[in-house]
Every structure is written in structure tokens, then in C-alpha cells.
């Protein structure tokens, strides 16, 4: 482990707050450029293998609030945030999607991102893919993945195995190439200091400059870190919340974008459940508006997927070895907000689904049920109150008729767009390289910057943006 506890008083040229996909890459780029970097992480450093993936123990140790976080609304949208060294990269599915080139071009135009060349970002993505050993699984698809492929092929729907950032040894065993395995060690090797268990409560401002970060340590003591520049990389919820607590307003926290998902459990004739991993196939026939994939499916999560219609579905819980959970995710037109309230430690998060979102969730769940029937599922159990068990195509139509987003378990793991990047004054919270509008030395460099939800797993896009922006900052430093 390369992290150490924080001291009450610390100093750095550049303070990086957060150590996930944005913070770790920022720290590595800046440290390798010879800049004195201090990374502060609120959570603990957990070595891979110390917790079972997707278990309650992992949620206790590596997720914020044990994974029980929600954006309020009708319906509320459950979400999760990593809270550990490496952030979300330690706990997510590890699936890798390059930033879509046409989306990057649209962002450039719509949000007026200056000096922004999609080709440059894709070139950075090439580098990231090498560092993270992005590739397909040499062992081939797992049974839950194979079920997705089978169903999609039967329907003629576009699908494929999504590469992961996983390094495979000679025996075929995979090692996740998360930030604690890649960019954080690189940053440390170049002199960056990494401290864990240190929460940043607020930034101390002097006019348009931040001069210090006020912190709370695990034993309850408070601390203060001085710096010349600060990169806020706490993710799309915590970054805007910190800026707001520090008195920074503008377009901060007003445009939360997510990929809302609804789920179902599919039961097959033969065992297929893999408790500690997720399927790597995705179906993109209706992308970018609608995508299908597989979820974590340990017995506890299977029980959760049956919960909304427990009286009707509960007998299936004993069949969990023959059940896997799948999701339908949409690109949402809805938006949410993050706002900090004085004296409250945590921000309030809201999200509003539009009528179009609700219709898309309905049709998405229906198509996903159809996909599972074609894959050979004997029964599909949709996750909403009042749902029928689906065994035939006719049942799919009935299910769609009964579906209501307000009665569904809507959730998401992709959060972004709370400090959009660009020069479009009406919408953007940070300039074209992530510096907060109206501030001279406060930068945001994480998923908050993405102008909209990208429609694919966003980690690669976040990393590419973060590296681009950090390089620009380092180049400015070298030019004095």
C-alpha cells in the first residue's frame, strides 16, 4: 500500500481531492511533470481480494454510505458512489467503452469547448487502453453473458462482448487494472503523496483564489492543507457539493445526468449464476437511447431483484443458482440537482425523469424481457411493484401495460455533468480545460465535466478528459 494517513497540517503545490478515474490520472500526469502533488482520499485503501466483489462487506468498505444513496424524486433513483482509494474504478464492472467520436464532436459544438480535438481524446484513449490492458476475456463468455448473446442473436439485435481493463496471467486469471494498480502507483513513483481517511469539508477562498482546504481526519481532528492550485476530483456528486460548501456557485450541481436503469431477473433451466462477477455482453441494437447488459447477481442481489413483487415471486429465490439479473439502461432527457445545505454534512441529490424517459424505461424492460425469453429463460421476473411473471411473448405485452416507472426500482451507477466543461456561459461550470468559471486556481477533473451522459460506461471518457486537462495544466506550468 502506498497511501498513508493525513497530517493535520500539510502543504503541496497541487492538491488533488479524490483518487478515482479523474483524480488518479490527474495526479500521475502532474507528478510525472515534476509538480509536487498531494492526493487526499476520503475512504480507505483496500487491496483487491480483501473484499468479495459486489458483497455487502465491499459496500461497507468501498462505497459511500454503504451503497445506500438516492436521488430524490418520483420515482427516486438509487445510485452508488465509490468511496475508497481508486474510487469507482475499484468497485465497478470494469467494462471499457471508448468515448464515442461523434458525441465528442457534438459536445465541442454544443458546449463550445475550445481547443478540443476529438482525435486528441481518442489518441489519449489509445494510451489508456495500453496502460489498463484493455481486452476481451481469453476464457470466453460466462454463462450469463452467453445468455445475452444467444437472445440477441435470435432476435437479430446488435451485441458484443465489451472489453475490460483486466490483466490476465498465464493461467487465465484476471487482475483488475483499477487506479490502485495503475495510475496511483505511477503518481507515487513520481513523488506524489497519497493520504487516505481525509475528508475535505470546504475550500478556503481569498477572492477568486482558493488558498487552503479544511479537512476532517478519521479521529475527528480537523486539519488544513495549503496549496497553490487545487483539482477537485470527487465525482459528480461530491465535487459540486464541495464547491458549493466553499461558497462557489454558478453552474455547479444544476445539471446532473445519469443513465437510469430498470432490472429483471431471468431464470433458466440450468445453473448460470456467477455471484462475484458481471456479464460482459451488452446489446446495443437501440443505442444510444437504450442498452441492455448484465448486473451483479449474488444471492442477496437476486433476492433484491424479486423484492418489488415479493408475494408473487418469492418462491423463485431458492432458484438463485439458475437466475441472473439484467438491466435496461437509457440515455435520459431528465436532469437532477446536487445542492448543499448549510450544517448538513452531505448534499441533497434530486433527479427528475421526463415522460420520454418513462416511456423508454417501459419499452426497454419489455424488450429486455423478450431478449431473455429468446435466450431460453423459463421465467422473467421484472423489478416493479405489481409486475407479472413473464413466460411468453403475450406476457411481455401485459408487463409493459402494467409497468410504471413510479413503481419500479430505478437505479444508476453512472453519474456525470454537474460541472459541465466549456465556454457556453449559460450551461457550463468550468472552462474548456476544467478550471471553474470565476476562479483562478480551482479545477474540476472528473465525471462532473462531461457535458451529458455519454450513453456508454463513462470511465474511459472521464480518464481521457482528465489526462487532456492535466497535460494542459502541466504545459502551462513548464511555460511559467
Amino acid at each position: 500500500m502506498i497511501a498513508r494517513p493525513a497530517d493535520a497540517a500539510m502543504d503541496a503545490e497541487v492538491l488533488v481531492i479524490g483518487s478515482g478515474a479523474g483524480g488518479a490520472t490527474t495526479a500521475a500526469v502532474l507528478a510525472e511533470a515534476g509538480i509536487d502533488v498531494l492526493v487526499v482520499e476520503e475512504g480507505e485503501w483496500v487491496e483487491q481480494g480483501d473484499t468479495v466483489p459486489f458483497s455487502l462487506d465491499q459496500m461497507d468498505r468501498q462505497y459511500r454510505a454503504g451503497g445506500v444513496t438516492v436521488a430524490l424524486g418520483l420515482p427516486s433513483v438509487a445510485y452508488t458512489e465509490g468511496r475508497c482509494a481508486g474510487g469507482g474504478t475499484e468497485v465497478n464492472s470494469g467494462l471499457y467503452w471508448r468515448p464515442p467520436g461523434e458525441l465528442l464532436a457534438r459536445w465541442r459544438e454544443d458546449f463550445r469547448i475550445a481547443d478540443f480535438d476529438p482525435a486528441e481524446l481518442l489518441s489519449i484513449a489509445d494510451e489508456v487502453e495500453t496502460v489498463l490492458h484493455v481486452g476481451t476475456d481469453p476464457a470466453g463468455p460466462t454463462a450469463p453473458s452467453e445468455a445475452m448473446r444467444r437472445g440477441a442473436d435470435a432476435l437479430g439485435w446488435r451485441n458484443g462482448e465489451i472489453p475490460r481493463w483486466m490483466r490476465h496471467d498465464g493461467s487465465g486469471a484476471g487482475q483488475r487494472q483499477s487506479m490502485t494498480r495503475t495510475y496511483l502507483p505511477r503518481a507515487a513513483a513520481s513523488g506524489a503523496r497519497i493520504v487516505t481517511g481525509c475528508r475535505v469539508d470546504r475550500l478556503e477562498l481569498d477572492g477568486d483564489r482558493a488558498v487552503a482546504a479544511h479537512t476532517t481526519l478519521p479521529d475527528g481532528r480537523t486539519g488544513r492543507i495549503t496549496f497553490r492550485d487545487v483539482f477537485v476530483c470527487g465525482g459528480a456528486i461530491q465535487s459540486p457539493a464541495l464547491l458549493q460548501r466553499s461558497g462557489i456557485r454558478g453552474n455547479i450541481g444544476r445539471s446532473l445526468a445519469v443513465h437510469p436503469t430498470v432490472k429483471l431477473a431471468a431464470r433458466f433451466a440450468d445453473p448460470l449464476n456467477i455471484p462475484d462477477d458481471v456479464p460482459v455482453h451488452q446489446v446495443k441494437e437501440f443505442a444510444p437511447h437504450l442498452s441492455f447488459g448484465g448486473s451483479a447477481s449474488n444471492p442477496g442481489l437476486v433476492a433484491l431483484s424479486l423484492l418489488d413483487e415479493w408475494n408473487g415471486f418469492r418462491d423463485a429465490v431458492v432458484d438463485w443458482p439458475r437466475i441472473s439479473v439484467y438491466y435496461a439502461a437509457i440515455t435520459s432527457q431528465g436532469r437532477g440537482r446536487v445542492f448543499s445545505v448549510p450544517r448538513l454534512r452531505d448534499p441533497i441529490v434530486t433527479y427528475h425523469l421526463t415522460a420520454r424517459d418513462r416511456a423508454l424505461l417501459r419499452s426497454g424492460l419489455g424488450r429486455l424481457a423478450l431478449l431473455m425469453l429468446e435466450a431460453g429463460a423459463d421465467t422473467v421476473f421484472p423489478s416493479f411493484r405489481g409486475a407479472p411473471a413473464v413466460r411468453t411473448r403475450k406476457h411481455v405485452a401485459t408487463m409493459e401495460r402494467l409497468f410504471s416507472a413510479n413503481r419500479a426500482s430505478v437505479m444508476t451507477v453512472h453519474l456525470c455533468s454537474t460541472v459541465p466543461i466549456g465556454e457556453e456561459a449559460a450551461r457550463c461550470g468550468a472552462d474548456s480545460f476544467g478550471r471553474v468559471h470565476g476562479a483562478t486556481n480551482i479545477h474540476v477533473n472528473d465525471a462532473s465535466l462531461l457535458p451529458t451522459a455519454p450513453g456508454v460506461n463513462p470511465q474511459a471518457t472521464v480518464m481521457a478528459f482528465a489526462i487532456r486537462n492535466a497535460r494542459r495544466f502541466a504545459a502551462g506550468e513548464s511555460h511559467g
Binding site: A65, T69, S76, P299, G300, A303, L307, V318
Partner: protein, 112 residues
């Protein structure tokens, strides 16, 4: 609000709800699950925790009067925003814990 612990507020409700849902769940296991639910409520973000404890106080008061549980069940079936989330939260945490820790548990909570 930081000083209020969740167990005295939500413990009775969670115990009663799980006893009805999973009648064959051994008492010792149910107590373990209730403890887990309370710990998770303690760890909720500030505003959510405040809301859950507020609703919890109301239901604790209902549980204390004769016939209160029946009335509470009626209230929980009403389409009241956020109130209906309370039993859902307890069940989500409780069921996840039960089947993760004892995966061969029967649908009524019995040890297979």
C-alpha cells in the same frame, strides 16, 4: 440528529416487518439482520437519514399503541411519496443480508 442512533427508532419496525415477511427466520438471525439494517441507516447521508428517522419515529409510536401495527400497514400501502420507501429500505437491506449470508434460506426465512 447526529446523536440519535437508528436502532431504537427503526429496530422495532424492522423486527416486526421481517417477522411477518420471513416468519421462519430464526430469532437470532432476525436480530442480526435488524442490527445490520440499523447500522446502514446510521450510515445514510444526512438528509436521507433525517427523513428515515422521522418516518421511523412515527411508526415507532404507532407500534406502541394497540392496533397501531395494523394501521401502519394500511398507511404503508397508500401511495404516499417517500413513506412507502421506508419498508422498502428495510426489506432491501434485510433481504440482501439474509440471502447473502445464508443463501439456502427458504422463501419464508427458514434454514434449508
Amino acid at each position: 440528529m447526529q446523536q440519535v442512533r437508528a436502532l431504537p427508532v427503526v429496530g422495532g419496525f424492522a423486527d416486526r416487518l421481517l417477522a411477518e415477511d420471513l416468519p421462519d427466520l430464526p430469532h437470532q438471525r432476525r436480530a442480526e439482520v435488524v442490527g445490520f439494517v440499523a447500522r446502514r441507516v446510521d450510515g445514510l447521508p444526512s438528509f436521507t437519514r433525517f427523513g428515515v428517522l422521522l418516518i421511523g419515529v412515527v411508526f415507532r409510536a404507532l407500534l406502541a399503541v394497540p392496533g397501531g401495527w395494523g394501521l401502519g400497514r394500511v398507511v404503508l400501502r397508500l401511495p404516499l411519496p417517500f413513506v412507502a420507501e421506508y419498508p422498502r429500505l428495510v426489506r432491501s437491506l434485510g433481504y440482501a443480508y439474509v440471502w447473502e449470508h445464508w443463501p439456502s434460506t427458504t422463501p419464508t426465512g427458514g434454514a434449508a
